[in-house]
């Protein structure tokens, strides 16, 4: 541990946010900037009979109105991941047009863009665009989408399947083991659709400069370089070196700002057409209708146990909705980010998951905080608890029985799962023991018993999750269908005065990279944190990068920076040796200086830096300068894990659930900044609790969204949650230089089943074994009646 690593250093980015001086995209105003608004479909599925724009074009302040009949009609946004059918047939990849031309495929799909001098004028003119639709029957449920005769989302194929997929052991073998199992627990449920709801709505400004024939796109994205690549190479076919993408302050992402959205490409195209900058900021209604949603799995699963409660086999079939088009990462979510976690933390010998991924008449579904792993964890942690309940076992006991034994990934080998991956290191029982201790498990059970006698319904729920993050080894994801590498880039530029500028391809939208990255850079170089500046979010500053998602920033992005620091120190040692007239191997680097071992002869980092840029007295043959860029491609995913425990009380009269305690013991490997890790966990837990108790996107039979505002989409408010009790175990990641695993999604992955398990536990004596999320009072009350 150095001066900063492992310390709760306060965040340097806070001052600007706290003073209202953050610069989010919508805060930017450019000279001559026009404003855009969209004409969006009020139907989920419809034929477009005609679009009349004449009145809108004549309206006050209108600069232009474009429809798919204009030049933009030929373009579409790409999908970044290919998952082919089990039988080898290629994934069905419909064109995802910037504007709908003949047919509407989801509610809120854009038909026209109106550009005007002011936002008010643009909004007014939207109402003057006349669109004639012929409404068609729609399907929004993924399972129903695969039924015979379901309305087709894309007419070019005979059914709605985008692809199907399976992973694990041979299905017949798994089925045979289930036949022979002592007990089989079954579950059938829906992992409901969620709206990510980053508090900052998506916002874009495209600015075409006619003189330089260059574009600048200001965008609220989690990965500016990826957007540039997708925009240039796939969406519009414009030269990548002529496009600058800037994404400075971003108000939360949770996955929803990874993807390349149609509006980004359309604004970029339109900006050249009108020769002016154009801004569009989504309003909240549009966000519900057009931001990629999360989850939406319809699940049927069976887990077999032997008489001691050891899991013998696990078989699952899922329908995972893709929405109307394939969003950037969508095919990866219910497959490689999901099926590969079906081992959980258990020694299950036989596992099979079968996925069918249909199109539905809904907004695309893609990664949302956890992306596939929350869905896997929910299933595993619910079904093992349900199994315990059915067999009369304690939910902690059944977990201890099935845990993979501890392994550090160094002395003991990594754990090879039945579902392709090899876990890096883990000590699952330790986290559960710590969680139970924090709760006072034995005492709680006594209290619960007493409370029941008084008619008070208390329950405890345990979830012992694992997740795979730090995505990802490029060769592995390439083999799995990714159309990009998932390395990261870190450049360390030492300035002549010894001050350090770090350029990272990772992107901070709340994670605190400006602080955490500076902590370890300062420590590794032995210099003050104030001498280190972290730059991100601008493709003209940062050479390249893959952005932030999948809890990868520190594990992958941090490692890239470490690689560059190693190169800096290696070259610096050559310069130091020359100046000190010593052999390189006689030097040691400590506290910001090279010292000849056993002497007091030393030279500081600053002096070496200056020498590198003023190379008058300099090693022969060595290039001047001290500036290195590195690509880090991880050798494996990282596997954070932990135990989450929820305590609830259910109102016996109304079914209302009160979350009384939440305990989170997380192992995210080494910790750079405990304050920030705790904050990530607390926030993740809140989102996971949101899924368990409150959140769901509901489409009605006609494909209308009935939860399209904060009046109907319930998200956790301050009075829905207790304080989150956090602790940690530390099992370092053996394969990256910082030993870190990632903390961004763990909270959201582990928490949801803990809460549901707790509610089921509270009602167990009434014979309740399962309840459908979200656990609305009505749903819980009804479960109690049956």
């Amino acid at each position: 541990m150095g001066n900063f690593i492992g310390k709760s250093v306060k965040r340097r980015e806070d001052a600007r946010f706290l003073k209202g001086a953050g610069k989010y995209t919508d805060d930017i105003k450019l000279p001559k900037m026009a404003h855009a608004a969209f004409v969006r479909s009020p139907y989920a599925h419809a034929k477009i009979l005609s679009v009349k724009t004449e009145e809108a074009e004549k309206a006050d302040g209108v600069v232009a109105v474009f429809t798919a009949k204009d030049g933009c009609g030929e373009f579409g946004v790409p999908c970044g991941w290919q998952v082919d059918f089990k039988n080898g047939e290629t994934m069905r990849e419909p064109k995802h047009p910037l504007l709908a031309k003949d047919k509407i495929k989801h509610l809120g799909e854009a038909v026209a863009i109106v550009i005007a001098e002011t936002l008010e004028q643009a909004r007014d003119a939207v109402e003057l665009v006349e669109v004639d639709y012929e409404e068609l029957p729609s399907v929004t449920d993924p399972k129903k989408a695969m039924e015979e005769g379901a309305p087709l989302v894309h007419d070019e194929w005979e059914n709605n399947a985008a692809f199907d997929w399976c992973i694990g052991n041979d299905r017949a073998e798994v089925e045979a083991a289930l036949e022979k199992a002592h007990h089989v627990t079954e579950m059938e449920y829906r992992n409901q659709r969620l709206a990510p709801n980053a508090m900052e709505p998506r916002s874009y400004i495209a600015d075409y400069d006619v003189n330089g024939d260059k574009w600048t796109l200001y965008t609220s994205t989690q990965n500016p370089h990826l957007i540039r690549l997708l925009l240039c190479a796939f969406a519009l076919g414009i030269p990548e070196h002529k496009v600058r993408v800037v994404s400075r302050d971003v108000g939360g992402g949770f996955g929803s700002k990874i993807y390349h959205y149609t509006e980004e490409a359309l604004l970029t195209w339109a900006s050249k057409e009108i020769g002016r900058p154009i801004k569009w900021t989504s309003d909240r209604s549009e966000a519900f209708l057009t931001d990629a949603h999360g989850r939406d799995h319809v699940v049927k699963s069976k887990m077999g146990f032997d008489k001691d409660g050891k899991i013998v086999a696990h078989l699952t079939d899922e329908y995972c909705g893709m929405g109307a088009y394939l969003s950037t990462f969508a095919p990866a979510v219910p497959t490689y980010l999901h099926g590969t976690l079906f081992q959980g933390v258990y020694t299950t010998p036989l596992i099979h998951l079968n996925v069918t991924a249909p199109f539905t008449h809904t907004v695309p579904v893609d990664a949302y905080r956890g992306a596939g792993r929350p869905e896997a964890t929910y299933l595993l942690e619910r079904i093992i608890s349900k199994g315990a309940q059915e067999m009369g076992m304690d939910p902690a006991e059944i977990r201890f029985k099935n845990f993979i034994p501890p392994f550090d990934g160094v002395e003991e080998e990594g754990y090879q799962t039945q579902v392709a991956l090899q876990y890096d290191s883990g000590n699952y029982e330790k986290a559960l023991k710590r969680g139970l201790e924090m709760l006072g498990y034995e005492d709680f059970r006594k209290e619960q018993e007493k409370a029941r006698k008084k008619g008070k319904l208390l329950g405890v729920g345990i979830s012992t999750y694992i997740e795979g993050c730090g995505i990802a080894p490029s060769a592995v994801v390439g083999a799995l269908g990714a159309r990009a590498g998932l390395y990261e880039v870190g450049q360390v530029r030492v300035q002549p005065t010894g001050k350090v500028s770090v350029f990272t391809g990772a992107h901070s939208h709340g994670q605190g990279h400006e602080t955490v990255f500076a902590q370890f850079v300062a420590d590794k170089l032995g210099i003050p944190m104030d001498d280190v500046e972290i730059e991100h979010g601008d493709t003209e500053q940062v050479a390249f990068g893959m952005g932030t998602y999948g809890s990868r920033s520190l594990a992958v992005g941090g490692s890239a920076i470490i690689k560059s620091i190693d190169k800096i120190l290696e070259k610096g040692a050559k310069i130091a040796a020359h100046k000190l007239e010593a052999a390189e191997e006689d030097l040691e680097y400590l506290d910001g200086k090279w010292t000849v071992k056993g002497t007091d002869k030393s030279i500081s980092f600053g002096d070496v830096s200056l020498t590198a840029y003023v190379p008058h007295d300099y090693p022969e043959g060595l290039e001047p300068g001290l500036d290195f860029s590195s690509f880090y491609d991880p050798s494996n995913f990282t596997y954070p894990f932990g135990t989450h425990i929820a305590v609830v009380e259910v109102d016996a009269d109304t079914g209302a659930v009160e979350l009384q305690r939440f305990i989170a013991v997380d192992d995210v490997g080494n910790v750079m900044n405990p304050m920030i890790v705790d904050g990530q966990i607390q926030g993740g837990v809140a989102q996971g609790v949101g899924q368990a108790l409150l959140e769901e996107v509901v489409y009605d039979e006609g494909g209308q969204m009935i939860t399209g505002s904060y009046m109907d989409y319930a998200m956790p408010r301050a009075d829905d949650l207790p304080m989150i009790e956090t602790d940690r175990t530390t099992t370092p990641c053996p394969h990256n230089p910082l030993g870190v695993k990632g903390a961004g999604e763990a909270g959201a992955i582990g928490s949801t089943p803990a809460v549901v398990n707790a509610v089921v536990d509270a009602l167990a004596h009434l014979g309740v074994t399962d309840i459908q999320m979200p656990l609305k009072p009505q749903t819980v009350w009804r479960a109690m009646q049956n």
Partner: protein, 268 residues
Amino acid sequence: MIPAKFDYIKASSVNEAVNLLDEHGFDAKILSGGHSLIPAMKLRLNRPEILIDISGISGLNTIEETGSEVIIGANCTHTQIVNSEVIYKNVNILKQAAETVGDVQVRNRGTIGGSLAHADPSADYPAVVLACEAKIEVEGKKGKRTIDAKDFFVGIFTTALEDDELITAVRFPKVAHGNYQKFYQSASRFAVVGVAVVHDGSGVKVGVTGVADTPYRATAVEKAYKNNNDSDAAEHAVDGVEVMEDHFADAEYRTHLAKVMVKRALEA
């Protein structure tokens, strides 16, 4: 989100506001706190051509006590009601309801007159107004009149106000013993069910909101309670009422909640 264009006039007297209403009829809307109206206008669900801002009219934002009543000006905010000593002492049930409205920012702007005139079927005040048998003072082209609470709520978002009338005050009889129980809708925090029970010398008066498209007096409960003086009367909470449904509460569950909330309010 931006409303359609409209004109804005700040009225300096009730008379001026009434004249403007009369002149513009259906195209005009009264603006007080605006916390129901403005969001609806932004979503372009509501597009008045003229807004008549009554927030500056003097005398509409006072809370007065007389011998038997508390008179609350239409422009009194929920916060004023929460903080009023007079209401605390004399119509405590109204304070209880006001505290559950929205959040602190909304309570700082939203007004009792605005809420009643808007007549959202899930709003809190209607239950209290009904149970207290409050009187709604209105003024229009034909002059002033008083509308009994029971006659005020006509249907979903519909009241007994004429097009040229606005609420000027609400008169609450003093209430010694009353209780408001609310089951929150988890997103909007409006009432899935809100029940106001006022005990008077001879029995109870029960106002219910959130259950039907129009708030109502649960007279069947009142009758049963009077006869037996016990909380089993709550079983009659939705007698004769068509119960609303939404994805938070279907009719069966809402009916159950209504009974639970009535029982709790009766027992409080």
